[in-house]
């Protein structure tokens, strides 16, 4: 039996607004699921249903209001400090908007090197080797390394985004509408790349999208969200 990689129990995230914090928006309202090693859970829903918040919360980019999250059986709901930093190597995220997902003032090389430097994974000499290997994995041309993001196409940027998190060797990736802003011909490239990587490195995905067809193609299991709750499983 494959083991469970990520487990979410009764996750809730409420946003409060108004002068007396009385207005409540229940962005996520009691969501539970588990994702097995090397498998993909698809999360579908229309805009504003809370699917993005779920992804951000698991990564602890947003603190949950209630609920529990487990990674490899360990409770990560209130992890902090160096343990949380270490978790950053295990769980990563890919974003929707290629235009905004790379720092426009950093060369592609530095963007890809960033995770290596933050987590002090290798020294300067090895760094170069690792980066060249990474871009080969995602099928990018070496020439692009010394350009700026605005000189790249959306598909290329998405590859860079994938390459940079691969350097950490993550076991779980939240893919938040990674292709919704790409052309169909390029969308297929990225989705295929994600699938190949999954096979190669046994990565688990939480694949978030509004496009049911894409999710069906990508996922082993599908949860449909509406108004903060999972309303249907497929």
């Amino acid at each position: 039996m494959t083991k469970v990689k990520v487990e979410v129990e009764n996750l809730k995230k409420y946003f409060y607004s108004g002068i007396f914090r009385k207005k409540v928006i229940k962005a996520v309202d009691g969501v539970s699921f588990e994702i097995k090693e090397g498998k993909t859970l698809g999360l579908v829903g229309e805009s504003g249903c809370g699917k993005t918040t779920v992804g951000r919360t698991i990564l602890r980019l947003i603190e949950p209001t209630e609920g529990k999250m487990l990674f490899d059986g360990e409770d990560i709901t209130s992890l902090n400090g160096s343990k949380l930093k270490k978790l950053g190597r295990e769980m990563q995220i890919i974003f929707q908007n290629p235009e905004a997902s790379l720092n426009p003032r950093m060369k592609i090389y530095d963007s890809i090197a960033e995770p290596l430097r933050i987590h002090k994974i290798c020294n300067k000499n090895e760094e170069k080797e690792v980066i060249f290997e990474l871009i080969e994995t995602v099928n990018l041309n070496e020439e692009l390394l010394f350009r700026y993001p605005h000189e790249l196409s959306g598909g290329q940027i998405q590859r860079v985004a994938i390459a940079r998190i691969l350097s950490l060797n993550p076991k779980f990736i939240v893919a938040d509408e990674p292709t919704s802003m790409l052309d169909v011909s390029v969308q297929a490239q990225i989705l295929n790349l994600l699938k190949d990587l999954q096979k190669k490195y046994a990565i688990s995905y939480l694949f978030i999208s509004h496009d049911l067809e894409v999710v069906e193609w990508m996922s082993d299991e599908i949860a449909i969200m509406r108004k903060g709750k999972i309303v249907e499983w497929k």
């Binding site: 930093k85 974003f95 720092n103 950093m106 933050i118 700026y148």
Partner: protein, 285 residues
């Protein structure tokens, strides 16, 4: 080609910016070498030769105490540039740091910083500077202090606004997902994306500060005579406006040229550094 190089090249092609740079280089040269090139000691009085019009010995004439206006104007460059650069250096640095912190952390820190900004901005800048300089008494240090107190909020406001929008960008979230420290994110991701408008504002700020400083001196609340300073020279020239208008003419035009040069440069920088302006507008307006 290198991005910076392209930007510099574009700046050079911008006629106004080029004029600004040439004037500024010239002024810096004048300030630096004033002791070598000024025909007279700017403080040397010669009461027999007071209020002389332009002549061979005194290119811009002499003032009410018989001092050489040309030499005084040259030395005046020093003090104006010094005030401009020092005030902007301090305020841009402090203002930017506060702005990044305020925008990035939000909450109570933001609240405190922004209320401080409100207090300073709730008051016409020159008047606040005037009150502070007036109360602390004249002198270079007090002028710089008064101008610094009134100028930092401009940077804080600008940078805070930019930080708020950059913070929402996905690359910042990506860095957070990488578990980069807040300091790292501010230094590597937020700051570089705010810096261009700060450079523009700082350049225009030098222009602004030079006028303010001269205004303070003009009102007798800044640099005091006999120090050669353009604003106080103007003030000293008022009684002789009818008989010897050149007393006010030369310092005035120097202020204007200096300020204009920095405004030209700032304007040119705005065109080259502002990515929105760079975008080609191809659809019909």
């Amino acid at each position: 080609m290198n991005e910076t190089w392209i930007a510099l090249k574009e700046l050079g092609e911008n006629r106004m910016a080029a004029v600004g740079i040439v004037i500024i280089v010239f002024l810096v040269f004048v300030a630096f070498f004033a002791p070598f090139f000024s025909p007279h000691d700017p403080l040397e009085q010669n009461l027999e030769k007071r209020l002389l019009a332009s002549n061979g010995e005194y290119p811009f004439g002499t003032d009410e105490l018989g001092r050489c206006i040309f030499s005084r104007v040259m030395y005046g460059t020093r003090i104006s540039l010094e005030i401009g650069v020092v005030v902007v250096g301090i305020t841009a640095l402090i203002g930017t740091i506060l702005g990044v912190i305020s925008g990035y952390y939000g909450g109570i820190v933001d609240e405190i910083i922004m209320r401080a900004v409100d207090v300073v901005l709730a008051f016409p800048g020159i008047i606040l500077a005037l009150v502070i300089a007036g109360l602390l008494g004249p002198g270079l240090f007090n002028v710089i202090l008064a101008l610094a107190v009134t100028h930092w909020p401009a940077y804080t406001r600008l940078v805070r606004g930019m930080t708020l929008s950059v913070k929402e960008k996905e690359f910042v979230e990506a860095a957070r997902a990488l578990r980069a420290s807040n300091f790292y994110i501010m230094r590597r991701h937020i700051l570089p994306n705010c810096i261009n408008p700060v450079i523009v504002l700082a350049t225009l700020g030098i222009a602004h500060t030079i006028i303010f400083a001269a205004a303070l001196s003009f009102l007798g609340l800044g640099i005091q005579p006999p120090t050669p300073e353009w604003g106080s020279m103007l003030k000293a020239g008022i009684p002789y406006l009818r008989t010897a208008p050149f007393l006010t003419f030369f310092p005035g035009i120097m202020i204007m040229i200096t300020v204009l040069a920095f405004n030209f440069l700032g304007d040119g920088l705005r065109d080259t550094l502002d990515p929105r302006a760079k975008e080609m507008i191809m659809m019909k307006k």
